[in-house]
């Protein structure tokens, strides 16, 4: 226990100032009423869905929770079920083998719900494109509020995308 406490003290607080939202990522505007967004903004629950990514975006989604970006410090956390979620964070081109699972996850998420597509693949289909096996970008399958490009996007860009989706001022 002593060693753990000493290591915590040695490390100190490494969290950085969180980024601001970026309106350039917004696809749909004002889908939700301002007061709903205001209540989201206090404590947002996210369900991540890998719809067929290469797992690169997952690495950066993990990184948003590290002490440097400290996403939980903003009141935003990842939850284990779409039933508990306010937002879906979707990566990958949507593989046709995941199309049904993604639709069902969306349907299982209580309305009002937000969807943020992560990465070049989520935005456009990326390098995998559309084919017999890939339906392409996320918005081909479910409605997307905000799309964050990058291969993979950085943790800062991912957090900006999440914050943009719940930004109150834009909707009011």
């Amino acid at each position: 226990m002593y060693r753990i406490l000493r290591q915590i003290a040695r490390t100190g607080i490494v969290s950085e100032t969180p980024p601001r939202p970026d309106e350039a990522y917004r696809l749909l505007s004002a889908r939700l009423r301002a007061e709903v967004l205001r209540s989201f903004a206090g404590a947002l629950s996210i369900r991540h869905v890998d719809a067929g990514s290469c797992n690169g975006c997952e690495l950066e989604i993990h990184a948003t929770s590290n002490p440097v970006y400290n996403l939980e410090g903003l009141g935003i956390r990842f939850v284990a079920s779409p039933r508990h979620a306010d937002m879906l964070l979707v990566t990958g081109p949507v593989s046709r083998n995941m199309e049904t699972a993604l639709r069902r996850t969306y349907d299982a998420t209580p309305a009002p719900r937000l969807v943020v597509a992560i990465g070049d693949c989520g935005c456009t289909g990326g390098i995998f494109g559309e084919s017999y096996a890939s339906a392409g970008r996320v918005s081909k399958v479910i409605p997307v509020d905000v799309a964050v490009p990058g291969c993979p996007p950085t943790p800062v860009q991912i957090i900006q995308g999440i914050l943009t989706a719940i930004e109150v001022r834009a909707a009011s």
Binding site: R3, D50, G52, G56, C57, A101, I127, S131, Y132
Partner: protein, 513 residues
């Protein structure tokens, strides 16, 4: 050339890793595989191609210290080849994928005829990797009922998990048969992330396929891009400049360290020690920022390409690389003491998810999981291509075979890879970082084989006309380790599955293609 007791005449496929190739008939295919199996050889990959003349199945084996590549052309409206899954259990899923994609069926009494990568996205009558198949075609979804193996008995019930999981991980389905909390059987169903990578390669040129290769499994982007480049360079008869090879090794070791740091944090976290995740994810973040600073990408995507390397190492970046080594070595030493002396953590890790060496060898386990079960398998030592012939990294092996061994192995490999990075920085040759990649001849073949952080990644490619890619098969070590995970969980409790799964940390995307 004859190789040991084997029947076929082998021809060398030149390249950084010399492979010995032979075209065989069905009887020799089976006989050779049997002889290799009987004498302790290993299966690396099994795949199929339809490159024009006739479809063929391909087999990569390791035998007598050599990489062997057997090719079996098949004919007829319903082509077949002899089943190898009774010898090499890992072949079973590869053979199912071969049928799903190319329509060639393994013939044998014990063949599992269920589909693997094909779910409901295309009908059983269509084979995406056949020559005439239009990649852009979209089919109406067909019913996706899949016959899981049922376990019967008093008090047995099933838990179905996935494809959408509780954590931020890739999609897959796990079907547990349990009594109380104890797992009697786990059956995996994968293929959810199948996005047509191999068909996509056919639309690319040899010189630009490295970007797609680097996204087969994003966490291993350096290893894949290197294996691809190695195969492409072999096909063109090109040797990249020495400095490029040393840069690739620096990136490969940095990728290994980044992933091991991440896994150590997650293993601690899955055993209830959140402190570990905070500490290791902080170390990993610093490490990735150094990658960004020195080479312009946090995960080093698209830095390795056919002919050499895309970016050089500047003097100030060299300093930062050296500082990284000193700092991480010190931090790792402190954190390791905390891991080792934490009774609650050790209680969760020791004896959990054990795979004996005997079982690992029978199933054909590979990579870091194999080394944690006492199997001395590491291409950097056993098939060292430049610069590993000069670097001579020490192979780390642990005997325990449990989560504790796979954790200790990662600690040791981080230290070993840090030392390796130091030797690379000391010995980095001067000179160019790339040679112009020429257009290879039509029908040229090449093999790339690289020890990624998870295990050995193999890429086999064949060129088409005017520098196009005719066929690329990227092969992830997860093909051979996923079936081992089904055994590792037997007799353990359900809540230990996330911990055991994380200790293997296998790729879904790399296997699903």
């Amino acid at each position: 050339m004859k190789i040991d007791i084997l029947v076929p005449e082998f021809e060398p496929v030149p390249g950084a890793v010399i492979a010995w190739r032979a075209e065989v008939d069905a009887a020799t295919w089976r006989l050779s595989a049997h002889q290799v199996w009987e004498h302790g050889g290993r299966l690396i990959a099994l795949w199929a191609a339809d490159t024009g003349r006739s479809p063929s199945v391909h087999l990569a084996l390791v035998f007598a210290g050599r990489l062997l590549w057997l090719s079996l052309p098949v004919k007829g409206p319903e082509p077949e080849y002899p089943d190898l899954s009774d010898l090499f259990p890992a072949a079973a899923r590869m053979q199912r994928a071969v049928f799903d994609l190319v329509g060639i069926r393994a013939r044998g009494d014990l063949v599992d005829k269920r589909r693997w990568l094909r779910h409901g996205a295309w009908p059983v009558s269509e084979f995406p990797l056949r020559r005439g198949f239009d990649a852009g075609r979209r089919f109406d979804p067909v019913a996706d009922d899949y016959a899981f193996v049922r376990v019967a008995g008093d008090g047995v019930h099933e838990i179905a998990v996935g494809p959408v999981h509780a954590g931020a991980i890739e999609p897959g389905h796990f079907r547990f048969s349990v009594v109380g909390e104890r797992v009697l059987r786990l059956e995996e169903r994968l293929g959810y992330a199948h996005k047509g990578i191999e068909k996509r390669f056919e639309t690319l040129g040899v010189h630009d396929g490295y970007r797609l290769a680097g996204r087969v499994s994003g966490d291993s982007t350096v290893a894949y891009a290197w294996a691809y480049s190695m195969a492409a360079e072999a096909a063109a008869g090109l040797t990249p400049p020495p400095r490029a090879l040393w840069l690739r090794a620096l990136w490969l070791e940095r990728e290994r360290i980044a992933n091991h740091l991440g896994d150590l944090g997650h293993i601690g976290n899955d055993a209830g020690l959140g402190f570990a995740l905070a500490q290791f994810s902080r170390l990993k973040e610093d490490w990735l920022r150094s990658n960004q600073y020195a080479f312009g990408h946090r995960y080093l995507m698209d830095r390795v390409l056919p002919g050499g390397a895309a970016v050089d190492l500047a003097d100030d970046a060299m300093m930062r690389m050296r500082d990284d080594i000193v700092r991480v070595r010190g931090e790792i030493a402190r954190l390791r003491v905390i891991f080792d002396e934490h009774p609650g953590l050790q209680d969760r890790l020791v004896g959990t998810g054990r795979v004996t060496r005997e079982l690992g060898e029978r199933l054909g386990m590979t990579g870091l999981a194999a080394r944690a079960s006492g199997m001395p398998l590491d291409l950097r030592s056993s098939f060292p291509c430049a610069p590993y012939d000069a670097l001579q990294p020490r192979m780390v092996v642990h005997e325990g075979g449990d989560v504790a061994a796979r954790t200790a192995l990662r600690f040791d490999e981080v230290i070993e890879s840090l030392q390796c990075c130091g030797r690379i920085l000391d010995g980095m040759p001067e000179g160019n970082i790339a040679t112009l990649y020429p257009t290879p001849e039509e029908g040229a073949v090449g093999i790339g084989w690289v020890e990624g952080w998870r295990g050995d990644i193999l890429i086999a490619l064949e060129t088409g006309s005017n520098g196009a890619l005719r066929r690329v098969h990227p092969h992830d070590p997860s093909w051979r380790n996923w079936p081992v995970l089904e055994h590792a969980i037997i007799g353990n409790i359900v809540p230990d599955f996330p911990l055991i799964n994380k200790s293997f940390n296998l790729s879904y995307s790399g296997q699903d293609l």
